[in-house]
């Protein structure tokens, strides 16, 4: 069974700025007195995640909420195994499919087909599996002969179709998403929505960061509210949402008064 366990996970970044990025200056300063070194290094520590613990099992659909810089992306990257925690322990059982950026690894000079293959290779999908899905992806994107052309010749809409089609073709066991994948192409919209939901439905565990309440309501059954890298609250969707609205002054009541709501970017109609 797929599972994600986080036990007191912290991720700390040291922000190197200016001279901290320079070998020459670092070497020069290390030979001077301690006080100067301290001033010259300008090291700032950022606690991107602060002792986060959680357990997810098969069937869990976790939404991440919180303001900008709350640590949502860092948490997703930690679950993807990209950031190994500074302290604490992460255990992830199952094939992880990260989907933080639709056009990951896309190369303008490669053909549409080659880009699909490269993307699959990066994600650890076997050659046979992706070749078997190629016809289905090609049919979905409706790009036809364009798939044999370099993708730099594509329009933005065509690019999105390709990226979207390739991303949603594979079977994800643990799916990590940073924002819902939205498509603005009117003709493509309905088809894309259906496909994306099927894709998410096939996953054993979903973790998704989103600012869009309607998306969270539709796809998630649990919510994790992060603030400054700390877990404020985790639990059933409605409960956390209510507390979040109460704390931030947003949501249904606030919306009636016309103040900014949680749905700051309506990426799709609800």
């Amino acid at each position: 069974m797929a599972a994600i366990h986080l036990d007191q996970v912290s991720v700390d970044f040291v922000v190197y700025q200016g001279s901290g990025r320079s070998l020459k200056k670092t070497l020069l300063h290390s030979s001077t007195s301690g006080i100067i070194r301290h001033d010259a290094q300008h090291r700032i520590q950022v606690h991107a995640l602060d002792r986060v613990s959680l357990r997810l099992e098969h069937g869990d659909r976790l939404g991440l909420i919180g303001g900008n810089g709350a640590g949502k992306t860092t948490l997703l990257r930690a679950m993807a195994g990209v950031y190994e925690p500074t302290t604490g322990r992460i255990r992830v059982a199952g094939q992880v499919t990260p989907l933080f950026d639709l056009s990951i690894g896309f190369d303008g000079d490669a053909t549409g087909y080659d880009n699909i293959r490269m993307r699959a290779a990066y994600l650890g999908v076997s050659r046979q599996e992706i070749e078997g899905k190629m016809d289905e992806i090609a049919a979905f994107t409706e790009l036809g002969g364009h798939l044999d052309l370099p993708v730099r010749t594509y329009s933005a809409g065509m690019m999105l179709r390709l990226a979207f089609g390739a991303a949603t073709a594979i079977d994800a066991e643990i799916l990590l998403m940073d924002e819902w994948i939205a498509v603005s192409d009117a003709q493509f919209l309905e088809k894309a929505e259906r496909r994306a939901e099927e894709f998410v439905g096939r996953a054993s565990i979903l973790v998704m960061a989103s600012h869009v309440e309607s998306v969270l309501r539709r796809l998630c059954n649990k919510l994790l509210w992060l603030e400054n890298g700390r877990v404020v609250m985790m639990g059933p969707l409605e409960e956390v949402l209510a507390a979040y609205h109460a704390a931030t002054g947003t949501g249904d009541m606030a919306r009636k008064r016309g103040s900014p709501s949680l749905t700051e970017q309506p990426a799709m109609p609800s």
């Binding site: 069974m1 190197y16 320079s22 950031y83 992880v96 190369d107 080659d114 650890g124």
Partner: protein, 271 residues
């Protein structure tokens, strides 16, 4: 469960070792990506990667004529020496120049999906090995034309190449780590490469250094070129030179591995 990632189930040493081993065994991945890089670079040209061969051939011919006359070398002797030396040198220079980009170049990928970090290093070494193979064509044609045949001793080029590539990997890995942390290492490396070209016997033969030949013996690059070049030219390399090349490999890998154990985890944080 098929796949398991546990951030605390083994030591950093075991993890660094595992990263290197799974990196090497993912040869189908970096093999494909390296080829892709080459194809991409030459996609819109008629000759494709053989542009490299052509430009190297022009370089060998012009430098051969000029320096051959300057140093009063016999051309049938000097040209194969130069063709091989330049091909190996451009591999070494490319590894020194591109190695630092190992992680920076693939930043978005590294931040997106977990894979052995050594894959990116191997991709860079592999794509330059492909270029080396294209450049080696010049020597092969020249050898046929001049009737050079190194004989069975020429097979020593295989361990020689193995040594060269093994060293290229640690150099690229170490530079990749350093450049991810310190952004001014790249220009430093570039100027060192330029200097190395002039102090390494690529265009000139070591025999020309009459008095201070020991200076050459201090240059580690010299040994790594010699273990590939000498067997193909039919020269016997002293056993001590092989020994030094092996020692460089062991020392370099020890340093790199220790660094990798210590900092592998931080690389994604630095990008």
């Amino acid at each position: 469960m098929s796949l398991l990632f546990d951030s605390a189930d083994r030591s950093q040493t075991a993890r660094a070792y595992e990263d290197l081993v799974t990196g090497v065994t993912s040869w189908s991945l970096w093999g494909m990506l390296g080829w892709h890089d080459i194809r991409k670079r030459y996609r819109r040209s008629v000759l494709g990667p053989f542009w490299l061969t052509l430009s190297m051939a022009v370089l060998v011919a012009s430098l051969g004529l000029i320096y051959g006359s300057l140093f009063r070398f016999e051309l049938h002797n000097y040209l194969p020496f130069l063709a091989l030396g330049l091909a190996i040198w451009s591999f070494i220079a490319a590894v020194l120049n591109e190695g630092g980009q190992s992680f920076l170049e693939f930043e978005s990928l590294i931040k997106h999906v977990r894979m052995p970090l050594s894959v990116h290093v191997l991709r860079i070494v592999w794509r330059n090995l492909i270029i080396l193979a294209h450049n080696a064509v010049i020597f092969a044609v020249m050898a046929l034309w001049l009737g050079l045949w190194p004989g069975a001793a020429g097979l020593l080029v295989l361990p020689g190449l193995a040594l060269l590539v093994t060293n290229a990997v640690w150099v690229a890995l170490l530079l990749g780590i350093a450049c991810a942390r310190f952004r001014d290492v790249q220009p430093i490396a570039a100027s060192v490469v330029q200097l190395l070209f002039f102090v390494t016997p690529v265009m000139w033969k070591p025999e020309l250094m009459a008095e201070r030949q020991w200076l050459i013996l201090l240059n580690p690059i010299h040994y790594l070129i010699e273990v590939v070049r000498a067997p193909l030219l039919g020269e016997t390399l002293p056993l001590s030179d092989w020994g030094v090349a092996v020692l460089i490999t062991i020392a370099g890998w020890s340093l790199t591995f220790a660094t990798y154990v210590r900092f592998r985890k931080r690389i994604a944080y630095w990008l």
